[in-house]
């Protein structure tokens, strides 16, 4: 038995050493940053989420929708405006104020006309454009993706988003022909060989993105006085988007801790029980 297992282990080891050849990575790997929510005990930093929300609100929401997030979610446990005094987020005054600042589409109950009314906590973040063709028309044919799940929908998650919004600020290297309406970003996937006029062995990695660099230093004034450097803004909005994609992370990790402790103890108890049951029988 042990011999068989060791043969198998050796074979597997050989396979692993052969190395999983990386898929032709034609973009920069997402930057390795420390996030408050990484690891089995990570959690969201509420102040960072508030700053990130501000960046979303003032910069990103102009073009990007977030149609799976409702205003009340901002007041959920783990969210940017969670207040233990208001366990029901629909009562949270900050949430209600934020919602009321938005104009949400609705119909007039008396006339049936399409109107805009102030939002309530039950409403979802309204989209900046009425539909996809309208969004494309305002963005040179490109569709700004919805941000509700963006951190889950991209390999690398928050780190990828951070890379994208900081990567395109440096501008394209000399010799790269950048099409009109596009911007070079080393973190974006793509193939630059057709656009590179320099030494083919030094073709830059990365791709083109239709979004102009969205952030610059001090584009947003933080309420808590944190210095709004480009990196800070990028980090905060990436953390906020991670929360938007995975609002239940904290509950999940907490429950996970309890479950793991229970299962480890339970396995130990069951093993003891197993040994007890079998002690009178040879096998």
């Amino acid at each position: 038995m042990a011999r068989n297992l060791s043969i198998l282990a050796l074979a597997l080891g050989a396979l692993c050493l052969a190395g999983p050849a990386l898929a032709d990575s034609n973009e920069l790997a997402p930057p390795d940053i420390h996030w408050s929510f990484e690891g089995p005990f990570g959690s969201y930093d509420q102040e960072q989420l508030q700053r990130g929300y501000k960046v979303y609100r003032e910069v990103c929401a102009t073009c990007h929708s977030m149609n799976m997030v409702a205003f009340r979610n901002l007041g959920d446990p783990g969210g940017p405006f969670w207040d233990p005094k208001y366990p029901n987020p629909n009562d949270n005054p900050v949430v209600k104020t934020i919602a009321a600042d938005y104009q949400v589409a609705d119909i007039d109950r008396d006339t049936g006309d399409a109107i805009k009314r102030p939002g309530t906590s039950a409403d979802y973040f309204p989209a900046p454009f009425a539909n996809e063709p309208a969004a494309r028309a305002s963005n040179s044919g490109a569709l700004p993706p919805d941000m509700s799940l963006l951190a889950k929908a991209r390999e690398g998650g928050a780190a990828y988003i951070y890379g994208i919004v900081t990567g395109d600020t440096a501008g394209a290297p000399h010799g790269l022909i950048v099409p009109v309406g596009k911007y070079y970003d080393p973190y974006m996937a793509g193939d630059m060989s057709a656009f590179w006029k320099g030494d083919p062995a030094r073709t830059p990695i990365g791709g083109f993105i239709a979004m102009p660099p969205p952030l610059i230093a001090n584009k947003v004034a933080y309420d808590d006085g944190t210095k709004a450097t480009l990196k800070q803004e990028a980090k905060d909005v990436a953390a906020f988007l991670q929360w938007a994609a995975d609002p239940k992370m904290e509950q999940r990790k907490q429950m996970g801790l309890g479950v793991m402790i229970f299962l480890l103890l339970f396995s130990a108890i069951l093993y003891a029980s197993y040994r007890k049951v079998w002690e009178s029988v040879g096998h």
Partner: protein, 208 residues
């Protein structure tokens, strides 16, 4: 010769011992293996560890069962629509509106002083479900009567300002309600149901 015989005898005796020993082992194994009830723990003396194991399993199962049941409770988006704020300035004196709240119909009636007086006068009249008009309105806002618009008989929506008391008449089976939505005639057993609401100022009410 005798020595060899003795040695053989000793060997045989030893073998017999071993055989007996083996037989004993075999017997005990046979007993435990072939007789499931012997192999199973004596029911009258369950091992402590087995009890602990079963209890832990039951406890774990209960903890697992809770989310599977709780998921059927109203989800967060349903709960978010639990409250509704309504602008009362839309309802003229003597009129009522029927609006949807938690997917149910609700009457919001702006009563005239005559209707209020008629309701109060009947406070102690004989009726199936006695109630005073004051108990069915909020102090300082007696002109507003807010009730569920579901007839307490079988759920139809009664028609406004019909029936001899000027309240409502249910077209399905003829229940008659007065201006305080109390059942006066007909098969319905109870007055139109009240529910939680709060006035936010004079022109706004929060239902639920």
């Amino acid at each position: 010769m005798a020595g060899r015989a003795a040695a053989v005898g000793a060997r045989l005796a030893r073998e017999k011992e071993n055989k007996r020993g083996e037989l004993k082992v075999a017997e005990s194994l046979a007993q435990t293996a072939s007789d499931p009830s012997l192999g199973a723990p004596d029911p009258s003396r369950r091992d402590f560890i087995n009890i602990v194991a079963v209890s832990a399993a039951v406890g774990g199962a209960a903890v697992v069962a809770w989310p599977l049941i709780d998921q059927m409770n109203p989800a967060a988006d349903t709960l978010a629509l639990a409250s509704l704020e309504f602008d009362l300035s839309k309802v003229a004196l003597g009129q009522e509106v029927t609006i949807a709240w938690r997917k149910q119909p609700v009457f919001i009636r702006h009563r005239t002083p005559k209707e209020i007086a008629a309701a109060v006068a009947d406070d102690h009249a004989p009726m199936k479900d006695p109630a005073t008009d004051a108990s069915r309105t909020k102090p300082g806002h007696q002109q507003w009567l807010i009730v569920l618009a579901s007839c307490t008989h079988l759920g139809c929506v009664p028609t406004f300002a019909q029936g001899q008391y000027g309240g409502w008449l249910c077209p399905c089976h003829g229940s008659v309600y007065d201006t305080s939505a109390r059942i006066r005639k007909g098969p319905a057993p109870k007055n139109l149901f009240l529910f939680d609401y709060k006035f936010l100022g004079d022109t706004k009410v929060k239902l639920g």
